[in-house]
Amino acid sequence: MDCKRAQFNLTAYDDKELAGSEALEIKNHLEQCQSCTALRLSLSETWKALDLLPVEEPDAYAAIRFLNRRKPAKVFPVFRWAMAATFMVMLTIGSLMTEKSGMMNPSSNQPEQAALTSSLFPDLESSGGGNDKVLFEAIFDEADSTGNK
């Protein structure tokens, strides 16, 4: 076996990847060839030096984080029911409060508006109360009389 072929097979020889007969040939060649033996040593030192390549331990929780992120968010059935019930209760309370304050039925506060109007414009009482036309005339009349003075 020549050096060129021996050297080509050195890595495979050290990795025990050669068939028996080929490995034996390399072994015999190395016993009588100093340069190939030196190269083999150099290659194995390089291989050993790679142990110094920086490496880190993974974050202890990285795999857990990955697995948790992969899962769809779990909402327990009881919690889901509680959320739905709370929403319904809030909706009911909201609608009751709205109804009580009259926002749902604007006509329900008409008496209060009439009382307010009569207190501001007492003259309107005699001229028919809620009639818009009379109301506007009264306002303009009042403005005219004030201006004439």
């Binding site: 097979n9 050195l10 190939c36 190269l39 150099s42 290659l43 030096a49 790679l50 880190e56």
Partner: protein
């Protein structure tokens, strides 16, 4: 990981817990493969996640023509090599304490020499050196023949030996190397 086949089979049958065990068992070696390849723990974690996401998505179609173990490494290798193709800038070296400087600089120099190898060569070296895969298994992972593994690995080793500063080795026998390997 001896029970990788079994866990993957159980997962294919619908056992999600088996997938969790599978991930927990392989997270560290895949992370460290990605770390040595990229030199960054942040990138390594991202690549690790991408690897296992692909495992999760493709496990149902895994036909078992190769070992589950080598299948995962194939995915991880592809993820790493694709990352390299995206041309992401090298991470900045971390801050170091003065007493760590010598050790750190040695490692940095070694990393620089290692990074001179092409991305496939680096992957080849990592799979052989740190995971003890046979040439046949590395061939399965990287989709090349065992003969190709043999020649490429030897070439990578010779390149490293030529580039590596002398203080990493004592022999210096690389000078006797015959030009152009077979």
């Amino acid at each position: 990981m001896d029970n990788a086949e079994q866990l993957l089979r159980q997962f294919k049958e619908g056992d999600e817990h088996a997938f969790e065990e599978f991930v927990k068992g392989l997270w560290k070696p895949i992370f460290q493969l990605a770390y040595r390849f990229t030199g960054s723990s942040h990138e390594a974690e991202d690549l690790c996640q991408e690897t296992f996401m692909k495992v999760y998505q493709n496990a149902k179609t895994f036909r078992g023509e190769s070992k589950a173990f080598t299948w995962v490494y194939r995915i991880a290798s592809n993820v790493c090599l694709n990352w390299k193709r995206k041309k992401i800038p090298e991470p900045a070296p971390p801050d170091i304490m003065p007493h760590e400087r010598h050790d750190f600089l040695m490692k940095l120099e070694l990393q620089e020499v290692f990074n001179k190898l092409s991305a496939p060569e680096r992957m080849l070296v990592l799979l052989s050196k740190f995971y003890g895969f046979s040439y046949q298994e590395i061939g399965d992972i990287l989709s090349i023949s065992p003969e190709k593994v043999k020649s490429r690995l030897h070439e990578a080793k010779v390149k490293l030996t030529k580039e590596l500063p002398e203080f990493f080795k004592k022999g210096g026998g690389v000078n006797g190397l015959q030009e152009s390997t077979v």
